[in-house]
């Protein structure tokens, strides 16, 4: 699904070019849940922009679905640390935003508006926001806004979901709750996910594969398969194998931060 071959990216900084990524190779299969972890400032977010075609690599090749990426990929759903909902739209209208842009929904938007509205409400139901569709985003708590943001990234049933620390601003309980929401949606639809995070437990709980990045310039220095059976419950986080995995990831990152 996603193939990065020896990709480097430099951008113009104030004191000359800054190398954000160097010689990064990564491969994510269709339907795979991949997580990227690493120290802060290692170019994780740059990786997201590369995959979605928002920036072009200075060197190397990015391919999505077998075709080289030359512009915005047009099929990805994205969610970030900030929910970024539009305050002048109700929650349902916010969810319908991608449908106003992505084909084939876009051309039929007026005709199928009621159907899309129903679809938005069904999706809200699955993340526990039933009945909040007519509220405005600022009437919702941070966790609820983040759920809505997740729904917005999923409404057009993207083949690829890009998440950039989507739960970082939430409290621990809400975060774990949303892990389960994401897990359930993914179990049902099995789209490809790239989750960028600095929360190792989050990566270990959700992902099939964890890629560890080095400090800037970022490179993938380690790739771990996570073999805990699915569907996983939160209890898995308290098993010794889980703790061992998190600990070894932690050591790996501590190691690359030093160097």
């Amino acid at each position: 699904m996603i193939q990065l071959d020896d990709v480097s990216l430099a951008y113009a900084g104030r004191t000359g070019p800054v190398l954000a990524l160097e010689g990064t190779s990564i491969s994510v299969a269709k339907g795979e849940f991949a997580a990227v972890v690493g120290p802060s400032g290692c170019g994780k977010s740059t990786l997201m922009k590369l995959v979605t075609g928002l920036v072009k690599p200075t060197k190397g090749q990015v391919a999505v679905n077998g075709a080289p990426v030359t512009g915005p990929v047009k099929l990805a759903g994205m969610a970030f640390q900030n929910a970024n909902l539009l305050p002048w739209r109700t929650v349902t209208e916010n969810l319908m935003l991608p449908l106003e842009i992505v084909e084939p929904y876009r051309s039929n938007f007026r005709r199928n508006k009621d159907e899309y509205r129903a679809r938005a409400e069904t999706l809200l139901d699955t993340v526990g926001l039933k009945g909040f569709g007519d509220r405005f985003p600022w009437e919702l708590s941070g966790g609820m806004q983040q759920r809505a943001s997740l729904c917005r990234s999923l409404i057009h049933e993207p083949a690829l979901l890009m998440l950039d620390e989507p739960f970082a601003a939430l409290d621990a309980f809400t975060r774990e709750e949303l892990w389960c929401v994401l897990r359930d949606v993914w179990e049902r639809l099995r789209f490809t996910v790239v989750l960028v995070t600095h929360d190792l437990r989050e990566a270990a709980f959700l992902a099939d594969t964890i890629h560890v990045m080095s400090a800037r310039p970022g490179r993938i220095i380690d790739t771990r398969k996570v073999d805990f059976p699915r569907p996983r419950s939160l209890d898995v986080c308290y098993e010794p194998e889980f703790s061992a995995l998190v600990l070894s990831l932690r050591n790996k990152i501590a190691e690359v931060r030093q160097s």
Partner: protein
């Protein structure tokens, strides 16, 4: 009386208080009405000259509104144009600053030479002076879209036009309606400045005429009417702002929830 009622009445009580204080001061200190007329004299002048005052206020009102309408139309278009891309924003901003820093009084004689004495220079002065805040506000609203939100849309394949229509323009609306409050007041200043320099009608013109005849109560009557018109137009734009973009105020109140 509840606190809320007192709060609602407070502006009227204060206005009345100022007039009472003014009247008392003029009477006690025996100030000549050529220097500072008492409010009662001003109201008497208003009553006596009600027809010319109303006629001239109307001229001032419609020229201001015409200039303001031009400023809104062109300001909105120009703001959208400037806010469209960073390059245009960067390139045009200094030019606009330079243009805006010219005192508009200095432009009036030129306008009079071009269009003759009358309403046209007043309208154009009002337009020139109130145009700038609208452009700047609309452009700023557009230019400060959250980059992440733009990424979300672009990753969906949205064009620049889509991003502007779905996010940029609605987002710039609170800025736009906010700027109208500033612009209408400035437009008013522009009209009166132009009328004082060269016009054959309007409150500014009337005040200059009355001043040269030492009819101070009439000058102050004109001043009072200017204040009333100014407050009225401000109130209308403020109401419009709350009406059109109430979400911006409410979302600020409960941000973060």
């Amino acid at each position: 009386m509840t606190n809320r009622q007192i709060e609602a009445l407070a502006p009227w009580i204060f206005t009345l208080g100022i007039f009472v204080f003014w009247e008392a001061a003029v009477r006690l200190l025996n100030v000549s009405s050529v220097v500072l007329p008492a409010p009662t004299e001003i109201f008497a002048a208003m009553h006596r000259y009600s027809v010319p005052l109303l006629k001239n206020s109307f001229v001032t009102l419609w020229t201001t509104l015409a200039g303001f309408a031009l400023a809104v139309g062109f300001g909105l278009l120009r703001g959208l144009f400037v806010g469209w891309s960073r390059t245009i924003y960067r390139g045009l901003y200094p030019v606009m600053i330079g243009f805006n820093s010219i005192p508009k009084v200095a432009v009036v004689p030129i306008l009079v030479m071009w269009f003759g004495i009358g309403e046209v220079p007043a309208i154009l002065t009002a337009f020139l002076i109130s145009f700038f805040p609208i452009v700047v506000n609309v452009a700023t609203g557009l230019a400060t879209i959250e980059p992440e939100l733009e990424d979300v849309l672009r990753a969906l394949g949205a064009s620049k036009l889509d991003v502007m229509r779905k996010v940029g323009i609605p987002r710039a609306m609170p800025y736009f309606f906010g700027s109208l409050k500033v612009a209408i007041t400035l437009a008013f200043v522009g009209t009166v400045v132009s009328e004082t320099i060269a016009a054959n009608a309007g409150l500014g013109h009337l005040m200059v005429q009355a001043g040269s005849n030492f009819q101070m109560p009439l000058v102050f009557a004109g001043l009072l009417l200017l204040a009333i018109e100014g407050i009225g137009m401000y109130a209308v734009t403020a109401w419009l702002e709350g009406r059109m973009t109430g979400w911006a105020f409410r979302s600020q109140q409960s941000a973060g929830g």
